[in-house]
């Protein structure tokens, strides 16, 4: 029998661990990745600080895209909002700006997201329900009325008809006498993740991607401070992917956009600095932080070495972050406040540039003003009270976080290879590769929860017999009628001849392959609607029914 002194500290620890009885739930991440009981220098063989981490604001940006991060400037607190008529959303925007929010984020209703006008028969029951209804230039005018668009940065979450909405936005800015050079904001305009995850697409993948590139190309030349695409992993994760899938599929989508834009003849350094990202912040703090850090590393090395970008701005992955909607529960909804707070912490520890915190009532309905205010307050407490902003990348150098960051990057690279084998991103969409991967991950997660291998507070543990209902926002049924009446009035007042002429121009531009943005801006002025513009393009591009396998 050996004594304690004869054995190394490590051996003693290992023996103790081996004898200890583990808890019933396996120690895995939210994504199901097994985690070691302890990380030590041995977990990081050949670790090289300079090449793997470096300094913040410097290649490869693992520790952050800015030298001082939140010591210089806090992240932008950007709460997604939108419902009802443009006028109602305009009021919510002004309310949020008053409460101290620093940027706007526009949510559109489902008909608009699908490129349908408010008076389309398929839109019945959905007008203004999950976001604001926008069919014409007048709707955009009312939406941002009285807001200084040269000062406030505006984000618009829209994809399939993104190019049409962007055209409306630019036409509106011009009408207000604003300088396009000074406009700041982001349009999501990321169609690839729609095919993988969210299903808000209209055309087949190839022409749809072409429209994305049209926006990137036009903004690069004319709206230089605008982010023409927000390459999004958020929805991929919401659809049930693992953290690694979110990371890998999002970056693969980004690389596809880079290649397609370069194929237009744009130099990579002319546009790459304006590509922005959007990631999910889920419950597992360290897994999320590792994901953001790996994302910065992978983007920087690929932009530099694969695409030959030479400007630092082209290497930097800047991202917006939103807490995970899919993690929210309808049981004991107030508990969601706590989930959101931890998720927001992960986003900030991971170095996000802007952040949306979900409201606790979002699994029940659209958030009330009370719930939205609490969500914003969560960010403010994080920023001003917790001290996490005092130093850059506070988790950097943690054996655990560095090992997890490495592992995440390696697994993402393996996915890049698999996507190559599938024949690229478009082929992967057509074959259903992405959708299948995500759906299987979602199902595996649900089985873990159902079997109690993962605990969800209030759902499969710590449940309460009696639930106290919380106040929710009810959308007025009159919105749909009001919106349709306004649209009909515009449709009657405009010149039908002019509308026909513009729709022909859209079809011709779609056919010829020229950038569609200029004709769409002109069409916006003639009060061509979102639905009409999309239909004209569909005449040329066709409509897409979705990938074959799910």
């Amino acid at each position: 029998m050996s004594t304690a002194t004869e054995r190394s500290a490590k051996e003693r620890w290992e023996q103790e661990v081996a004898q200890a009885k583990p808890r019933p739930q396996p120690p895995t991440t939210v994504s199901g990745v097994p985690i070691e009981p302890l990380y030590t220098p041995e977990s990081l063989p050949d670790f090289d600080y300079e090449t793997e981490l470096g300094y913040p604001g410097q290649y490869p940006f693992t520790r952050g895209v800015h030298a001082t991060m939140y010591r210089g400037r806090l992240w932008t607190m950007r709460q997604f909002a939108g419902f009802g008529t443009p006028r109602q959303t305009n009021q919510r925007f002004k309310f949020l700006l008053e409460k101290g929010q620093t940027g706007l984020s526009t949510a559109f209703d489902l008909p608009t997201l699908m490129g349908l006008d408010s008076d389309d028969p398929r839109a019945v029951g959905e007008v203004g329900r999950l976001g604001v209804a926008v069919s014409t230039l007048d709707d955009i005018r009312q939406l941002y009325d009285g807001i200084d668009l040269e000062q406030v940065s505006v984000s618009m979450t829209i994809n399939a008809p993104a190019i049409v909405i962007m055209a409306f936005y630019l036409a509106n800015a011009q009408n207000r006498g604003l300088d396009w050079q000074k406009l700041r904001g982001t349009i999501q305009n990321d169609i690839l993740k729609e095919f993988h995850a969210q299903n808000e697409f209209v055309f087949p993948p190839e022409p749809h991607v072409r429209l994305v590139i049209d926006v990137i190309e036009f903004c690069t030349r004319h709206v230089p401070q605008w982010n023409p695409v927000s390459i999004s992993g958020y929805h991929i994760r919401e659809a049930g992917s693992t953290a690694v899938q979110e990371l890998a599929f999002t970056l693969a989508d980004g690389f596809h956009y880079v290649e397609q834009t370069m194929a237009r003849g744009l130099a990579v350094d002319d546009f790459a600095g304006r590509l922005s990202f959007f990631f999910n912040a889920h419950n597992d703090i360290f897994e999320e932080v590792a994901k953001y850090r790996a994302a910065r590393l992978l983007w920087a090395e690929t932009m530099r070495h694969t695409y030959g970008a030479s400007k630092e701005a082209s290497w930097k992955l800047r991202f917006h972050c939103q807490t995970a909607g899919c993690s929210l529960q309808d049981k004991q909804p107030e508990v969601n406040l706590i989930r959101v707070a931890y998720q927001a912490l992960a986003g900030v520890l991971g170095g996000c540039q802007s952040l949306h915190t979900n409201s606790m009532d979002e699994t029940l309905a659209l958030p009330t003003e009370h719930a939205v205010t609490l969500a914003l307050r969560t960010q403010q407490v994080l920023a001003y009270e917790t001290g996490v902003t005092n130093t850059v990348d506070p988790l950097g150098g943690s054996y655990f976080v560095e090992a997890l960051t490495r592992q995440m990057a390696e697994e993402a690279r393996r996915y890049f290879d698999r996507i190559q084998q599938e024949g690229g991103v478009i082929a992967g969409i057509e074959s259903g590769f992405f959708r299948r991967e995500i759906a299987e991950a979602a199902y595996a997660y649900q089985r873990d929860v159902d079997a109690g291998r993962k605990i969800i507070v209030g759902v499969n543990a710590f449940t309460e017999a009696e639930e106290k209902p919380i106040e929710i926002l009810v959308i007025d049924d009159t919105v749909e009628k009001e919106q349709i009446a306004a649209l009909r009035a515009i449709k009657t007042a405009r010149s039908q001849e002019e509308v026909r002429r513009h729709l022909d121009a859209i079809r011709r531009a779609a056919e010829s392959g020229e950038n569609l943005m200029p004709v769409l801006i002109e069409a916006a002025r003639a009060r061509v609607t979102v639905g009409e513009a999309m239909n004209a393009m569909a005449d040329v591009f066709g409509r897409y029914e979705g990938a074959a396998k799910w």
Binding site: D330, R447, D450, I456, P469
Partner: protein
């Protein structure tokens, strides 16, 4: 003689494309021995009812996360009745405010399942509900 598998049509009606939940439920019911007919996204009340009729389904599961349930669900129920398919049980899943649940049940929905419902709960509910046979004749 073993009882034949329960046939259930799963569909999303309306415009929302969030299909994580319905796909998880589809896989879960399959693994519990159901025959799951997946009708997919963007279904209209009319197309769903046609699918239920042609597939001779025992159940219809609707997934709606868009908030349009109070418009779309009554329409589906009405069409099922006029088609002589009132024997088909209807369950609804998605984001449904608590206050709407009793209204949906009153209309004839058998059960409403919120986000994150454990699959076994859905399986147990479907298995324990008596299978109804169609009324012998239609007018």
């Amino acid at each position: 003689m073993t009882t034949p598998p329960i046939r259930i049509v799963l569909a999303k009606i309306g415009l929302d494309g969030h299909d994580r939940g319905i796909k998880v439920v589809a896989r879960g019911l399959r693994d519990a021995g159901f025959h799951v007919i997946y009708a997919g996204l963007w279904q209209t009340p009319e197309s769903v009812v046609r699918t239920v009729a042609d597939e001779d389904a025992d159940w219809l599961g609707l997934s709606i996360l868009s908030g349009a349930h109070m418009t779309l669900v009554p329409r589906v129920l009405h069409l099922l009745r006029t088609a002589g398919l009132e024997h088909v049980g209807v369950i609804v899943g998605g984001i449904i405010p608590e206050s709407d649940v009793p209204k949906l049940l009153d209309m004839g929905v058998a059960r409403v399942f919120g986000p994150g419902t454990p699959i076994p709960e859905i399986v147990d509910f479907l298995r324990s509900s008596p299978r109804r046979t169609p009324t012998p004749s239609v007018s």
